[in-house]
Symmetry: C2
Subunit: 350 residues, 2 copies
């Protein structure tokens, strides 16, 4: 099938006039572009359905909810860590299963064998460690800002990712793409506005500092992951994912130990699980894998756009599923985000 | 002074390297650019101070007010028409005074003499007539939407001006400038959001239609004015203004007759005037003249950007003058408007 598509592409190309330089696309570029599009769409859909599952579960449990401020519906931090450790385990299992299939089809090669030298593996704990620190900080920031306010401040991630992508990965964005990135951040925040959002402006200084530090940690972890995934392009992504997720499991285990070990042990590791929780774990695992693929085949900027669009998609789907009402701020924010996506695509560095 | 500036410019130019084609600006272009900037800044400042005067007067009178929804602080439509007729009269007087000075300095020429043929004068009533219809409609739209909602809907003006500018004046905006124009509209609306803004989404169909018709009338009047002002570039602007304002006076007189003639005559033409009302009339007159100059030396697009920036400026100045609090929506909207201004400037059609 893939072969046929490539062949069609070749034929299309040979019939194209030779002077239309910009319209001619090499087959390998097209495959790359298709892969990039596919992983981006997958990430958008999984991220969006993740939020929808959360709203669904909270509705079932009659929790207070907001479509733009959805979070795992667990009651303690330790509960959250036990969920994430299962997500990491599932991602590990999926990576191993994919590898097993590849080994039986293609045989074991230098690029797809699981064993790795220390200098390859040594970088994998770093993103997991950064996320751990960020997640620990998350519980302290609530001393300074409420949950909806924190969701607003989380949009700093967009800006920090852009800046660190430029500084660390040394990748350039054009002037137009920078402008697009700034309005993407403003548009996402606008779409999340509610009548009480202004209270975030009263956040004390410590709250702002923590929000910025968390945005930098999260941005740095993202950029670092991209650097790892792209360092050896030929390395099989399932091997890279396997190592990433092994350390993800390890650091979530640390989080449980640090936080509320006794509570978890007393309640049992599978306390309070339902069909929807299992669905959520599968969805989290798949969207985690989609993130890895976006990091390898696209980049952090694409990831930010993808998750931003997912946020809007979630709200629109929730209108049909849950009868949500969309605010004027949501329409304005969506318009701005759409223009940002358009400007990013036309503003490529030449 | 102007001569000296031009001479300096000539010297600067001759010392510049010859290959820096893009950096070389012809003196006449620079004078044009300076004139364009000056009239744009004047319009921004006058529009902004106009809104500040309104807030000031409403504060004095203990009215309910909002910085982004300011309007003339008069109690009836007929009162408003009596204010505007005085504004038009003052603008007429200022144009005549300017002309008198020009005649005594330069003598009467074909371009600056006041008398005009019918085929020149016949176009001047049209914008005044369009504004009259729009102002009459304004009183009917309040059957469908409240005042803050109407302020939100008025942002359709931005889009209608862009579309009519393209269709009627056949002037092109680049893709980036269109994108900038859309986010300018979204950004202005965002900056005006308040916790009750969502009610505008419940506007009945007739309200939407009227808002769109009013936006088209207002956009058409603006574009038509630009066409008149630019049709004969050498024609002295004070002559053009004089004819425009004569018909402005005439149509406001019609508005008084149509609306509430008896009330105006009973109360007297200068009923309820204070120092601040006089200031407001002078400010309105000056900003009206600035609009004419922007139409002649710049264009409708510049006018829209200028009045949008003025709206933001008013809010920021009001923080210092009246201790206003700015909302998060205002910061987000301002960011988007600023990016729109930037994109418009870098997105010029080549």
């Amino acid at each position: 099938m893939e072969y046929r598509k490539l062949k069609d592409q070749d034929q299309d190309e040979s019939s194209a006039p030779q002077d239309l330089e910009s319209l001619r696309v090499k087959p390998v570029d097209l495959t790359k572009w298709k892969l990039k599009s596919a992983v981006t769409i997958a990430l958008t859909v999984f991220t969006s359905s993740q939020a929808i599952l959360i709203v669904w579960s909270k509705r079932a449990g009659k929790y207070e909810y907001s479509v733009t401020t959805a979070n795992f519906s667990v009651s303690t931090e330790a509960d959250e860590a036990t969920v994430y450790i299962k997500v990491e385990a599932l991602k590990c299992a999926i990576s191993l299963a994919a590898l097993a299939r590849i080994w039986s089809n293609e045989g074991v090669t230098e690029d797809n064998r699981l064993s790795a030298k220390l200098d390859e593996v040594i970088v994998y704990p770093i993103p997991a460690f950064l996320y751990l620190i960020k997640n620990l900080l998350q519980y302290y920031i609530f001393a300074y800002v409420d949950a909806p306010g924190y969701q607003i401040l989380k949009n700093f991630n967009i800006i920090s990712t852009g800046i660190l992508y430029r500084i660390i990965l040394k990748r350039k964005l054009s002037e137009i793409q920078w402008a697009a990135f700034i309005i993407l951040c403003a548009g996402c925040t606008t779409a999340q506005l509610n009548p009480k959002s202004d209270s975030v402006l009263q956040t004390p200084f410590q709250g702002w500092v923590m929000a910025i530090v968390m945005a930098l940690l999260s941005g740095f972890a993202g950029v670092y992951t991209e650097a790892i995934m792209k360092k050896r392009p030929a390395r099989n992504i399932n091997v890279q994912n396997f190592w990433m997720y092994v350390f993800g499991m390890a650091f979530n285990a640390v989080a449980i130990l640090v936080q509320d070990f006794d509570a978890v042990m007393n309640k049992g590791f599978f306390h309070g699980y339902s069909f929807i929780t299992v669905l959520m774990i599968f969805n989290h695992a798949l969207s985690g894998i989609a993130v890895s693929m976006v990091m390898k085949y696209a980049d952090n900027i694409v990831k930010v756009y993808s998750t931003s669009v997912a946020m809007l998609l979630t709200a629109v789907v929730s209108v049909f599923l849950f009868g949500f009402h969309l605010s004027l701020a949501f329409f304005l924010g969506s318009t701005v985000v759409s223009v940002a996506v358009y400007l990013h695509s036309i503003g490529k560095v030449r």
